[in-house]
């Protein structure tokens, strides 16, 4: 590895397709194939993706380290860089550096129940955790995956998640606020309504991971607190502006923490006692 941690490495786009409108899936691998297995990361970590001449921004890793060699991202078109990323075709090159961030405290979660609650784009980082847990299924107790989107055509990885419903060792619950297709076979209602399907959970032996739009957090957390899950076992990932990903540029600072190195995964307890976190 280069001694310059800011040096991004070239990656080839292997596959890309639209997950939903304006959110695109990117599967990439290092141009230098030997590098492929040297990229180690944890679910919940992110990478800085560069397009030379356009810029650099943080994106959560959506793939799982249990499936090495390829990195996957789900990217929403929202501004300059992302718009340019959307113009790229398969086989073209992007540059990345990382991984960064604390990621989910996986080791601590071994032997626990998992409640994964995703809203909208939040499914991107949580998919990494979900896939990791499923690939290491015996390390965890019960696993719940609750995912809500506004409409069926706004649900990321829909086919993949529908397939997961077949699994016996996972409770996969999908919901939409409104069904405007008429062909939706899953639940209808906001994501918090899925909580009624959670049965016999020992809150002390449970970790919850939440990621979604800001409005979702409060309601979901209320539910989790009601379930009596300890505040430091409720995990959430936060977003801030970032330039370096390494705790240097200062953009993501909140009080005394750097979202990029101390986060982006925080516990509900952190949020409660630190100002301005959300």
């Amino acid at each position: 590895m280069s001694e310059n941690l800011y040096e991004p490495i070239p990656m080839r786009i292997v596959r890309r397709y639209d997950l939903v409108e304006n959110v695109r899936f990117f599967q990439v691998r290092p141009v230098e194939i030997e590098r492929a297995l040297t990229i180690n990361y944890k679910p919940g970590q992110f990478m800085m993706i560069s397009l030379f001449g356009v810029g650099e921004a943080p994106f959560s890793i959506s793939s799982s380290p249990s499936r090495p060699g390829l990195l996957e991202f789900g990217i929403r078109k929202i501004g300059v860089l992302t718009e340019e990323l959307f113009k790229l075709k398969e086989n073209e090159i992007i540059h990345i550096r990382g991984p960064y961030g604390n990621g989910f405290p996986i080791e601590k979660m071994y032997g626990y129940n998992l409640i994964i609650v995703a809203g909208g784009l939040g499914a991107v980082p949580l998919r990494s955790l979900l896939l990791y847990a499923l690939d290491n299924r015996d390390l965890f107790k019960k696993i719940y995956f609750l995912y809500g989107a506004r409409r069926p055509n706004e649900m990321l990885f829909l086919r993949e998640f529908l397939e997961l419903k077949e699994r016996e060792d996972l409770e996969c619950l999908l919901t939409v606020d409104k069904d405007d297709t008429g062909s939706w076979t899953e639940k209808i209602g906001v994501v918090t309504e899925l909580f009624k399907y959670l049965k016999d959970i020992d809150p002390q032996k449970t970790y919850a991971a939440v990621c979604g739009p800001p409005v979702m957090y409060r309601f979901v957390i209320d539910k989790l607190v009601n379930l009596q899950i300890p505040k430091h076992q409720i995990l959430m990932t936060l977003e801030r502006r970032m330039r370096c990903g390494m705790g240097k540029c200062g953009h993501c600072v909140i009080g005394s923490i750097y979202t990029c190195v101390d986060g982006p995964v925080f516990t509900y307890w952190d949020v409660l006692h630190m100002k301005d976190l959300i």
């Binding site: 030379f52 240097k248 953009h251």
Partner: protein, 342 residues
Amino acid sequence: MKAYKLKKEYLKEYLKSLEDFGEVWGPIKKGEIDVYEKITDYSLLNLNALRPILPLKKFLIPPKFNTFFYTKDGKYENALKEVKRKIVFGVHPCEIHALLTLDRLYKERYPDYYYLTHRKSTWIIALSCVPDDKCFARSLNTHFVEEGFDLGFTDLEDYYLVWVGSSEGDDLLRHRLDLFDEKITSKDLNRYIEWRKWRDNQYQLNLDLTAMPDIMELSYDLEIWNEIGERCLSCGTCSMICPTCTCFNIADHLGIDDEPGRRERFWDSCMLKIFALVAGGHNFREKRVDRVKLWYTHKLKAFITEFGKPACVGCGRCIANCPVNINVAEITKILKGEEVKK
């Protein structure tokens, strides 16, 4: 630490000889202020300079520099291969404390290549100082240093007591050993002790910064912050001049015609509105007051959590430079409910 003596009349000759190692830099007067500049004419060196407007950080992370180039076909090319060695003379203890803080910030946990590269080639010659009405280093215990310099000069009127702080410092000293006097007598010792006592008493500005983290926390929602927020021009001056402020931003520049493109890094300030804006338009610190609060929280509270000491080193730059008189002294006084002179 070994010490030597250097007669004052040899100073310029000695410094000039250090050009054999690299560029010699030091404070030079520019109008009413001082700036660290490369010295070509040693008579211009201002030995009484207190706070060059831009602190040492300008050597370690320049205000604006290229991090890398990329060629037309998308190949990465390092932009910082070599840095000329600089020997910076006239660095005061508070600045060295700031340097030690930066070292922790930039050398630990994801070492910063650019910082390290510059740091390695920046050698420091410390110089003792006599505070003015804006220095409050004693309040922060940053008025003396025991490490962080290569050579340390203490001004004892007709000669300097010279401490050797590192192996590089030793090289510097041995370069012209002929100019130095190795014998330290008891008279020298007494003079040094006396000088220290005298110098400690020269601080006119003394701030009680104990419990500042708690005060920051407790004052968070007080109305008084709003008044400060309204006063702030959001000009970013404080972040530019504070020796421990090192936030930066990044921009890509495309090359024209056959030129390579480049990624540029430049100083940024959390006092600017755009600083915490994220894609989609949400701004975590839209209001001026929130930005001012963050700045002071970061200086007076957050760093203590992180490094066990505040980020402020008492250099007085914010006191000297903020056009609307918002600074650490003012803020601590206001928060502690003390009468503030306008």
